[in-house]
């Protein structure tokens, strides 16, 4: 992708219970050079993304997308981390964090024109 591109991060949050999780807070940690742009399906705010879901009952699954925008300094491979949490105690925290790896390739358009000069 090119610098300045939008990155779409799709989040799938589920609650295996037994209690409701309310509220549910999802936090995305973007790498340097990526900033929060917008979200669809959840109320989110930036710099990283902090998204809030009012309630997630046992068995519920919610999907939303967070958009991040790259700047011109982004290079190479970077990692985005997302974490979900709620006031309810989580007996299995290992699946509360997920990562996404992205590689930024730079496309530079350098046109070359050959002209002849007569001395």
């Amino acid at each position: 992708m090119n610098p300045g591109s939008l990155l779409a991060y799709r989040h799938v949050i589920s609650n295996a219970g037994p209690s409701d999780a309310a509220p549910v807070l999802v936090t995305d940690t973007f790498p340097s050079g990526v900033i929060f742009d917008s979200a669809v399906g959840a109320d989110c705010t930036g710099g990283g993304a902090r998204c809030t879901i009012d309630r997630l009952a046992p068995g519920d699954v919610i999907t939303f997308t967070v958009y991040g925008r790259t700047d011109t300094t982004v290079r190479g491979t970077f990692v985005t981390t997302a974490t979900v949490a709620s006031p309810a105690e989580n007996l299995y925290p290992d699946n509360n964090t997920a990562t996404a790896i992205t590689t930024v390739r730079i496309f530079v358009y350098l046109p070359l024109t050959l002209r002849s000069y007569r001395p």
């Binding site: 985005t80 997302a82 974490t83 979900v84 006031p87 997920a98």
Partner: protein, 435 residues
């Protein structure tokens, strides 16, 4: 009463003859000394006669010197009846009396010719005396007594009986009696007569609704024969009071007044039979201390093990409700009402030993109905806590019955339990796709 008398005229005749014979002695012969003599004699009066066993009796002793000479060293000796005790004497100055056991001795000193000395000897008749009392005494002096036949006298006293037994119920506790509770009282027998009452028998006819648990007589022995307490109290002396302490348990189911009838009798006729029998009619009340307790327990496996971990929203929770009648009376129309927290669903069933239970919304009502004193039962409820619940659950259990409850504070219980929330959240994050 015996009175011994001697004709003083006869005595004077004998003395005259002796003087005439003395004057006929030859003239010039040496005069022989004239021997002194005195005819002392004794009479005894008993007062009163008849006398009550246990009462005072006085012997009036009259000692007379019939002369002709003064009588010196006059003493009266006698043996008091076995059933009397010497008390005191009354006599003119110079006269003394003393008793050594039943042996009575009175020293009268000198009585001149014609002198009479009266001595009153007071004795106490034994309360157990029966029949006739005989007191015999003899008077003697230093001088020869020409008529010794009148020196002794005796009195026979008829003994009558004065027994008056009275019976009363004392210290009846509690009043009114309480169904199922101990009832204590004292049967008090008093003898207000003067004589011993013998072979005293006390009988207390009990109502059928009591059971004797302890009998403690001051004396004698008691036993329960059918519905009677029968006490053989032996001898009750004058002014003596004998108490029989009674402890019994009133049947927990009875509601009728308790009627006791007691009477006391002895071998002797009673001076006032009307107070020998008493009724005791006790009003009776019922008191049932109903108690309910409740605990959260693990679920779905219902057990009486208390929860060590807090219940979790979205998971089953058990409640153990324990209801009992601590008595003392049986309880009627007993109802247990359980109000569930609004954030639970009774979906795991209920198991009751407290009669049939029905659910009506948040309420579970069980009707054990009749609960004997000491009965206890349980109700197990299995509910599921709403997954969305956060906070503390409060379950209320209330038990009520027809009888008055002496300790109403334990008729209702609110069991609160904080609820934990466990949410196993998981997150999937897709690698971004460039747009």
């Amino acid at each position: 009463m015996d009175i011994k008398r001697k004709s003083y005229a006869t005595l004077r005749l004998w003395l005259g003859l002796l003087l005439l014979l003395g004057s006929s002695a030859p003239v010039g012969a040496a005069a022989a000394p004239i021997a002194l003599s005195a005819d002392v004699f004794l009479t005894i009066q008993d007062m009163p006669d008849p006398v009550m066993a246990g009462a005072a009796l006085t012997y009036h002793l009259y000692v007379i010197n019939g002369g002709p000479d003064p009588a010196t060293g006059v003493t009266v000796t006698g043996v008091l009846p076995e059933s009397v005790g010497y008390e005191t004497f009354s006599a003119p100055s110079g006269v003394t009396c003393a008793a050594d056991g039943q042996a009575l001795t009175c020293a009268l000193g000198t009585l001149i010719n014609g002198q009479t000395v009266a001595v009153d000897v007071a004795v106490a008749v034994d309360p157990g005396a029966r029949g006739t009392l005989r007191f015999a005494a003899v008077v003697a002096g230093n001088e020869p007594d020409l008529i010794p036949a009148n020196n002794s006298a005796a009195a026979q006293t008829q003994v009558n009986i004065d027994v008056n037994l009275e019976l009363a119920f004392h210290d009846v506790t509690p009043v009114p009696a309480i169904a199922g509770a101990p009832l204590t009282y004292a049967l008090v027998v008093a003898n207000t007569g003067q004589s011993n009452a013998t072979q005293v028998v006390l009988t207390d006819t009990l109502p059928a609704e009591v059971q004797v648990t302890a009998l403690t007589p001051d004396q004698g022995a008691c036993e329960v024969i059918d519905v009677d307490i029968v006490c053989a109290l032996d001898v009750i002396g004058p002014q003596q009071v004998v108490t029989v302490s009674v402890v019994m348990r009133v049947d927990a189911a009875t509601r009728a007044p308790l009627a006791h009838h007691a009477r006391v009798d002895s071998l002797e006729p009673d001076a006032e039979p009307v107070n020998n029998a008493r009724w005791l009619v006790l009003p009776l009340i019922a008191r049932s201390d109903l108690r309910v307790q409740a605990w959260p327990v693990p679920a779905p496996i219902i057990s009486d093990t208390l929860m060590l971990e807090p219940p979790v929203a979205g998971r089953p929770l058990g409640y153990l409700i324990h209801a009992e009648n601590l008595g003392p009376s049986d309880a009627n129309a007993v109802s247990l009402r359980v109000t569930l927290p609004p954030s639970v669903t009774l979906d795991g069933g209920m198991t009751s030993t407290l009669g049939a239970c029905v659910q009506n919304g948040l309420h579970v009502i069980c009707g054990p109905g009749y609960m004997t004193a000491g009965f206890s039962g349980t109700l197990h409820l299995t509910v599921t806590v709403d997954a969305s619940f956060v906070g503390t659950l409060a379950l209320t259990a209330t038990i009520s019955g027809l009888e008055t409850d002496p300790f109403p504070d334990n008729n209702s219980v609110v069991v609160t339990v904080p609820v934990a929330t466990y949410a196993d959240l998981s997150l999937l994050l897709s690698a971004p796709a460039p747009l």
